[in-house]
Amino acid sequence: MTDARARVLARIRAAVADAPEAPATARDYRTSHTAEDPAALLDLLHENLVDYRAHVHRTAPDGLAGLIARLLAERGARSVVEIGRAHV
């Protein structure tokens, strides 16, 4: 135990020795601000991503490859870096 540690702890104890007990924390705030409806949640996510200037596209699993191919073609990309493979 260092001297500094002992002295800081002693000063804390002296500082609050006469303080009244703090009232218990009230947690009467909401645990959620959104509806449980998955479709509504998806819309909200979409809206907030766009608000942060992201380009959002929606697709079903069987349309994913086509969508990515189209986005790459639009940018004239000839090669891509795959993220995360090194750790797999």
């Binding site: 260092t2 009230a26 009467d28």
Partner: protein, 483 residues
Amino acid sequence: MSGEERTPPTRSGPAFVGMPAFPEAARRAVGDTTLRANLRHATHTIRDKRARAVAELDDWAALREAGKRIKDETLRHLDAHLLRLEEAVTAAGGTVHWAEDAAEANRIVTDLVRATGEREVVKVKSMATQEIGLNEHLEAEGIAAYETDLAELIVQLGEDRPSHILVPAVHRNRGEIRDIFRDRMGSWGRPAPEGLSDTPAELAEAARLHLREKFLRAGVGISGANFMVAETGTLVVVESEGNGRMCLTLPETLISVVGIEKVVPTWRDLEVFLQTLPRSSTAERMNPYTSMWTGTTDGDGPRSFHLVLLDNGRTTALADEVGRQALRCIRCSACLNVCPVYERAGGHAYGSVYPGPIGAILTPQLRGTTSEIDASLPHASSLCGACYEVCPVAIDIPEVLVHLRGKVAEQGGHPLERAAVKASAWVLDHPGVLAAGERLASRTRALHPRRAPGPGVRRWTGSRDLPEMPAEPFRDWWRKNRT
């Protein structure tokens, strides 16, 4: 208290030593029209955005009350929470150090950096390390400290001082920032690109290129923390740029300097502050980067982690039953953005790394009120109360200001005020003198100036007319007409 109790250690803030008192510094600042335009634009924009972000949550009042109570409960049992934190950090592979004052914290950090053999460090934006003047200390010890937050970089390159808790370069406009980058980047590392313009995108890209080189080379990172979770030993840094995360993850050694009041008992407590802090601070629903780390992890992030717990006057503030609420502060800076005094005087006038309303109550408590600047800070307010309204942990700043004004007055107050009160007490104790004075004043009233003359007084009365003197004293009129 125990027998080993010493006088509290001296506290220092090297970067601001020798600052003029607030009224003088503020008078200079309000004459600077560029500064006023920069501040007005910045504070009004963020003020309106914050109000919208807060209005989105219909339980804001409940979140604010919860945040206040979590902090109060933590401060009441601060010793126990710090010991729990120390145990958890140590168990997770970190090392905990305790620093009573700025000098001790600086010495600990310097020794830790020396032990790594490195001569330079990268820094995450941190109020605690600003408070202790760590960069200046490291420089004197031959260690270069590079700020990586964009605004801190602007301040560092410009050899300037921070003027806002969240945006330390808020007093600079785009043209000024371009000039600083163009003229100064070369002497700190990678120079700014040729023909740099003042568009935000080009300025950000120049900073990115300049900083990338520092991140990749750095062996030591130094940070503060927004929160420390006692039950798990987890530290939390929230930021917008991602530069902080680079410093927290790339270097081999990470050193965090954190005020003892930043501890929260449980992980769950973060659910309150991670809602209230970003909305109050940048008016965002959530900050873009939230980094959390618990000790060290093999093969991921820094290999050694040191936490320096800083007192530096906090236990003195904790002992003040009115003033201790200032320790609830989560450094959001909402109070700066709404303050009419801050908007006009700017951050530098407060002579401390903590400007604005929170600085006016925190600085005098951390540093004491012996210097002229610190004794003048509790008066740097019109007591309008806007700061209390927006505070996400409900710090009653006007209450603490009035309390601290009382303490300053007890230690002697202002010499002119003291002389005036003493003189009027004598006059009021001597009715004959009072009556003679009143009659003399009435008879000479045509000669009275419309405004109070004299140095010191004129600053306050320059825009105010003196009340008109009646033709005769009230007591004489009463005697003639009513007795």
